[in-house]
């Protein structure tokens, strides 16, 4: 397992083989370290605020990523500006490394839309709820990059790679095996980033695999490596190396980031039913943010910086709360938009019917009280 920061935040390169990764840490400047810390703290703060908002009825569901900030911020910052990201549904940290507006994630879990951000703008694709499905989209996209010859040109302005995120449980899905195979046989510039947070709802990782997950790709021809997912520097370096390699035409790679889901699976989950408090405590003691704070302090970063980050978090939380409470309800007729890219008579017929029905209620929309439920009998 690649690790550069031990639990006390002390930097060390454990073995010679890890030197190929360590060089990427040496290239970093202090401002990069501070950025990593700021982003981890920012996303933790956001996450906790989102859970609170869910508890107050502002969102249908929240999916916390607490504990996985090292894996997400480290890997996310290693993804280059031309590269595309195909996430699962817990990648809030990766999202902020590529400028996705946090409110669009809130809106999705509030039930305003199914994502809503433009995947082309941030090169961060929509969250994928069907486990593993996005890895095939990533493979197809990466095949397209190959077809366009935007790999191994030697020009960093042109070369591209793709990264896809998924969990330990998702690896059991056939789609991920098919994606590994596709990427291997086409030499696609695709990095598979598995966050092994050791749980898939209530199922421990042993349910999903007999062999360590970083070796899952071997039979398909995709080499892999395990990295300490709670070490932001190791996650950065390992991802950087294999994204660079993919861009340079060396093909796909599988990274398993060993981390832990500190929180519940979602706000609907009760993890006390299936796991011990001791296990949680063990991993809390290995918190990626605390570990990195120790490192930064050992590098001479003073209390002022941590105070500033704390204040920024308070401000972010206030903004998120305020904006969430002020969100307007979406227009009912939006359900008919973008079902197809080109006109479709059935959709237009049903849209017109609903419009007429609403008008017949005197502008009374069917959802604003219980009495006027839409009658779905008959066809429209």
């Amino acid at each position: 397992m690649v690790q550069f920061l031990n639990e006390n935040g002390e930097f060390a390169v454990a073995s010679k083989e890890h030197e190929i990764y360590a060089q990427f840490i040496r290239d970093l400047r202090e401002s990069d370290f501070l950025k990593f810390y700021r982003d981890m703290a920012r996303i933790r703060r956001f996450d906790n605020e989102a859970t609170a908002l869910q508890r107050q009825g502002q969102m249908g569901l929240w999916v916390p990523a607490v504990g996985q900030e090292g894996a997400q911020i480290g890997s996310g910052h290693a993804v280059g500006p031309n590269d595309n990201i195909f996430p699962s549904y817990r990648e809030h940290g990766v999202a902020i490394t590529h400028g996705v507006d946090l409110m669009s994630i809130i809106k999705m879990f509030r039930g305003v839309n199914h994502g809503g951000w433009n995947p082309y703008e941030k090169k961060f694709h929509l969250y994928a709820i069907v486990l593993g499905a996005q890895t095939l989209h990533a493979a197809g996209y990466a095949m397209g990059v190959n077809f366009e010859g935007k790999v191994a040109t030697g020009n960093p302005e042109i070369d591209e790679a793709v990264i896809t995120y998924f969990g330990d449980g998702a690896t059991a899905e056939g789609d991920i095996s098919e994606a590994l195979l596709m990427a291997a046989t086409t030499n696609a510039p695709l990095v598979f980033f598995c966050q092994n947070n050791q749980w898939a709802i209530s199922s421990a990782v042993e349910t999903q695999t007999k062999v360590p997950l970083y070796r899952r790709g071997e039979g398909f021809g995709v080499p892999g490596i395990r990295v300490d997912g709670n070490d932001v520097l190791a996650c950065y370096a390992v991802t950087k190396k294999h994204m660079d390699d993919a861009r340079n035409g060396l093909g796909p790679y599988l990274i398993e980031a060993l981390t832990y889901r500190i929180g519940a699976h979602t706000t609907s989950d009760d993890p006390s039913k299936y796991r011990d408090a001791e296990q949680v405590a063990y991993w809390q003691a290995r918190d990626p943010i605390i570990r990195f704070e120790k490192f930064l302090r050992s590098q001479g970063i003073g209390q002022d910086f941590f105070d500033e980050v704390q204040a920024a978090g308070d401000q972010l939380a206030a903004e998120i709360r305020e904006t969430t409470f002020a969100l307007p309800e979406p227009e009912l007729e939006l359900i008919f938009d973008h079902v197809y890219s080109e006109p479709h008579p059935l959709i237009e017929e049903q849209r017109a019917w609903l419009r007429g029905f609403e008008e017949s209620l005197g502008g009374h929309t069917p959802t604003d009280d219980g009495e006027n439920k839409v009658d779905y009998g008959g066809s429209r």
């Binding site: 839309n113 199914h114 994502g115 809503g116 433009n118 995947p119 082309y120 694709h125 929509l126 069907v130 499905a133 890895t135 095939l136 989209h137 990533a138 493979a139 197809g140 996209y141 990466a142 095949m143 397209g144 990059v145 077809f147 366009e148 056939g174 789609d175 098919e178 994606a179 195979l181 596709m182 046989t185 938009d337 973008h338 079902v339 197809y340 890219s341 080109e342 479709h344 008579p345 059935l346 008959g378 066809s379």
Partner: protein, 327 residues
């Protein structure tokens, strides 16, 4: 002078795909055995020589991956023509089709276009082993976000495949495999119809038979038999199963007052169920008889020695004609 050639449905599909690949360098063709072999039905024969292995290539035997990567390629600006080898093997790709491909444009609020064509040879009548003779159209027609079409003749095969490839939306393209060798004239200059239009193939006054794909020929046969018995049948080729061009059917039923809808698939919760319901609603005062559905039975597709019993033929259509004429 009209510029026409005689082609089989198979050759017309081949010519249509070739034309689409010539017209647009973003068009890719892939699936199991489509490259050197040209597919098990030779629909893509010769394309590898003309376009090379970056435009047409064999996929691993992984249907979910075939559709899933077509989606990723669409996100990258390619237009994929993905072949599923046989109808019964589309189900491993079901999630990628109904939850991914069909929904991504909507989920992304229109940012993602999904110009993907999934070609599926479908239907029975070729004496095949299990899983090679199915009619899965209702699953796909039921799914919002998909378009579903099925040509019945070479001219439609040539034009509809090109129109499907040009569509910005995903199209499930159902090819009537037992009619692949059926020949007909193909007009090369321009299509007579849009992708989603139904058409009257034979005008008549007493009964309308609406069908699609492999059953169109059978419907025309029934019309001839009926003619000899003094019953005038109007035959409609529905062509598009989602959306359905109800206008053409409605106009016909207003004239004949009697409608039979025919397909190979079982009739329970089928394309014919939908048409029957819609026509009951739109043509209530014009109907002289209830709409009758003629299809396969609602059983697993039977073994080859029994498929003749399963598949609706002209006699079964005539039995339905007798029934509607009795009202």
């Amino acid at each position: 002078m009209a510029n026409t050639v005689e082609l089989s449905i198979a050759k017309a599909l081949n010519a249509g795909i070739r034309k689409a690949m010539q017209d647009d360098p973003k068009v890719l063709v892939f699936g199991e055995d489509v490259a050197k072999l040209g597919g098990v039905f030779r629909i893509t024969e010769g394309l590898l020589d003309e376009f090379g292995s970056k435009r047409i290539f064999n996929s691993p035997i992984a249907e979910s991956a075939i559709v899933g990567t077509a989606i990723g390629l669409a996100m990258r600006g390619f237009r994929s023509v993905a072949e599923i080898q046989f109808d019964g093997f589309v189900y491993p790709a079901f999630d990628q089709i109904v939850s991914q491909l069909a929904k991504l444009t909507n989920r992304s609020e229109g940012h993602l276009k999904m110009p993907v064509v999934i070609r599926i040879p479908y239907g029975g009548g070729i004496g095949a082993v299990e899983h090679h003779s199915e009619s899965p159209e209702a699953y796909f027609a039921h799914t919002a976000g998909l378009r579903v079409v099925s040509p019945s003749n070479p001219n439609d095969a040539y034009w509809m495949i090109q129109q499907a490839i040009q569509s910005a939306d995903p199209v499930v393209f159902l090819e009537p495999k037992r009619r692949y060798w059926q020949k007909g004239q193909v007009e090369l200059d321009q299509p007579a119809l849009g992708l989603h239009q139904a058409t009257v193939l034979k005008p008549g006054t007493d009964v309308t038979i609406a069908s699609y794909g492999p059953m169109v020929v059978t419907s025309l046969q029934a019309a001839e038999i009926a003619q000899a018995e003094g019953v005038s049948i109007e035959v409609i080729d529905i062509r598009s199963l989602s959306p359905i061009d109800f206008g053409v059917i409605v106009e016909s039923v207003k004239k004949t007052g009697r409608l039979i809808v025919a397909h190979e698939a079982g009739t329970f919760v089928s394309i014919s169920s939908e048409i029957a319901a819609k026509i009951a609603e739109l043509c209530f005062y014009y109907l002289e008889a209830p709409v009758i559905r003629v299809g396969g039975f609602d059983v697993p597709y039977p073994a080859a020695k029994l498929e003749e019993l399963y598949l609706p033929d002209a006699d079964r259509l005539m039995e339905a004609v007798d029934r509607v004429m009795a009202y």
